[in-house]
C-alpha cells in the first residue's frame, strides 16, 4: 500500500510537470497572439492614402473607416488584444496552480468566443479586400485597388496577423482541452 502511494505521488509530480510545461507554452502562445492581433489592428487603423490628383470638389482619399467592415475589423482585433492581455493573468495562474480545472473551462469558453469574433472580423475584411482587388462585373462594383495601391497593400497585409491569431487560438483551445482530460 505504501509502495503504491509512493508510486502515485511520483506519477503525480510528473503529471504536474507536463501540465506546467503546457501552461508555459500556453502563456507564450498568448503573447504571440497578442502581438499578431495588435499589429493587425494598428496596421489597418493607420491606413490613409491620398491620391496626388484632385478635382475642384473632391479629394481622392482612402481611409480604413470609409468601409464599415474595416472599422469592425479594427474594433474586433482591439477587443481580442485586450482580452489576451487580461487572460495572460489567468495563464500565469495556471502555471502556478497546474491542477485548476474550473478556471480552465472558463478560459476555454472565453477563448472560443474570442476565436469566433476574430474569425468573423478577419473573414469579413478578407471578403472586402478580395472585392477591392478584383471588383465584380455583375454588380458593377469597381476594383478600387487599381487606384489606391498602397492602401490595398496595407489592408491585405493586416489580414495576415489576424489569421495567425486565429491559428494560435485554435492551438490554445486544444491545449487547454488536452490538459483538462489528462488529470488523474
Amino acid at each position: 500500500m505504501a509502495g503504491l502511494e509512493l508510486g502515485a505521488k511520483d506519477s503525480g509530480s510528473a503529471e504536474s510537470r507536463v501540465h506546467r510545461g503546457v501552461a508555459v507554452l500556453d502563456f507564450i502562445l498568448r503573447l504571440v497572439a497578442l502581438i499578431a492581433t495588435l499589429a493587425s489592428a494598428i496596421a489597418m487603423g493607420t491606413t490613409d492614402e491620398s491620391l496626388p490628383f484632385f478635382t475642384q470638389f473632391i479629394r481622392f482619399r482612402a481611409k480604413y473607416n470609409d468601409l464599415p467592415t474595416f472599422t469592425f475589423f479594427v474594433v474586433a482585433n482591439s477587443i481580442v488584444s485586450a482580452y489576451l492581455v487580461l487572460s495572460l493573468a489567468l495563464s500565469i495562474f495556471h502555471i502556478i496552480r497546474s491542477g485548476a480545472q474550473s478556471s480552465r473551462v472558463v478560459l476555454i469558453f472565453f477563448d472560443t468566443g474570442m476565436l469566433a469574433l476574430l474569425t468573423a472580423g478577419a473573414s469579413a475584411a478578407a471578403a472586402i479586400v478580395y472585392l477591392a482587388h478584383k471588383g465584380n462585373t455583375r454588380t458593377n462594383w469597381f476594383a478600387i485597388c487599381q487606384q489606391f495601391n498602397s492602401f490595398c497593400e496595407r489592408i491585405s497585409g493586416s489580414l495576415i496577423g489576424s489569421f495567425g491569431g486565429i491559428i494560435v487560438f485554435i492551438l490554445l483551445i486544444l491545449m487547454s482541452a488536452v490538459t483538462l482530460s489528462r488529470r488523474h
Partner: protein, 203 residues
C-alpha cells in the same frame, strides 16, 4: 498450526481493512457513478445541440444555394439576373456550410459513443478539436457573407459601389436569411465546444 495462525491473522487484518476501506470504496464508486451520470446528461444535450446545428447549417446552405432572382424587365442584350455564384464570397459560403453540415452529420456517431461511454476522454477530445475547426469555418463563411450582404444593402459612396438590394429585393432577403442561419449554427457550435470542455473535467 503456525501456518493456520498466520493465515487467521491475515484474514482478520484484511477483513478489518476491508471494513475500513469499504465506505471509501463505496464513496468512490458512488462518485464515479454520479460523475458518469452527469456526463451522460451532458452528452445527450451535446447530441441534441449537434442535430440542431446540423439543421441550421443545412438550412443556410440550401437557402443560399437556391437564390436566383430574375428581374421582370430586360434589354435587348441581357437579362438582369442575380444568382449566388455571381459573388465568389457566396460560393465560398455555400461550400463551407455544406462542409459544416456534412461534418455535423458525421459526428453524430461519435456523440452517441460519448453517451454510451461517458467517462472516455478520447472521443470527446476528437470532438472538441473538430468542433473548434468547424466553428472557425462556419464563422468565417458567415462573417464574409455578412460583409457582402451589408455592402449589397447599403452600398458605399466612397468606393462608388451601388447598393444592389434596391433592385434585387428577394435575392437580398434570402441571402440575409442564409447568413442569419449560419450565425445560429456557429453559436450552437460554440456551445458544443464549451459542453465538451465541461464534460472533460475529471471531477
Amino acid at each position: 498450526m503456525e501456518k493456520t495462525e498466520a493465515t487467521t491473522i491475515e484474514i482478520s487484518e484484511s477483513s478489518r481493512e476491508r471494513k475500513g476501506k469499504a465506505p471509501l470504496l463505496a464513496a468512490a464508486v458512488a462518485h464515479d457513478r454520479a460523475a458518469s451520470g452527469y456526463k451522460r446528461g451532458v452528452a445527450i444535450f451535446d447530441l441534441i445541440l449537434r442535430i440542431s446545428a446540423a439543421t441550421a447549417a443545412l438550412a443556410a446552405t440550401i437557402t443560399m444555394g437556391t437564390t436566383e432572382q430574375t428581374l421582370p424587365f430586360f434589354t435587348q442584350f441581357f437579362q438582369f439576373q442575380a444568382s449566388y455564384d455571381d459573388l465568389p464570397t457566396f460560393t465560398f459560403f455555400v461550400i463551407a456550410m455544406a462542409i459544416v453540415t456534412g461534418y455535423l452529420v458525421l459526428s453524430v456517431p461519435f456523440s452517441i459513443v460519448c453517451i454510451v461511454r461517458p467517462v472516455a476522454a478520447g472521443p470527446r477530445l476528437l470532438l472538441i478539436l473538430c468542433d473548434t475547426l468547424t466553428v472557425t469555418l462556419a464563422t468565417s463563411a458567415a462573417g464574409a457573407s455578412a460583409a457582402i450582404v451589408y455592402l449589397a444593402h447599403n452600398g458605399n459612396s466612397d468606393a462608388n459601389w451601388l447598393a444592389i438590394c434596391q433592385q434585387f429585393n428577394d435575392f437580398c432577403q434570402r441571402t440575409s436569411g442564409a447568413v442569419v442561419a449560419a450565425f445560429v449554427a456557429a453559436v450552437l457550435l460554440i456551445f458544443l465546444v464549451v459542453l465538451s470542455a465541461v464534460a472533460l473535467k475529471r471531477r
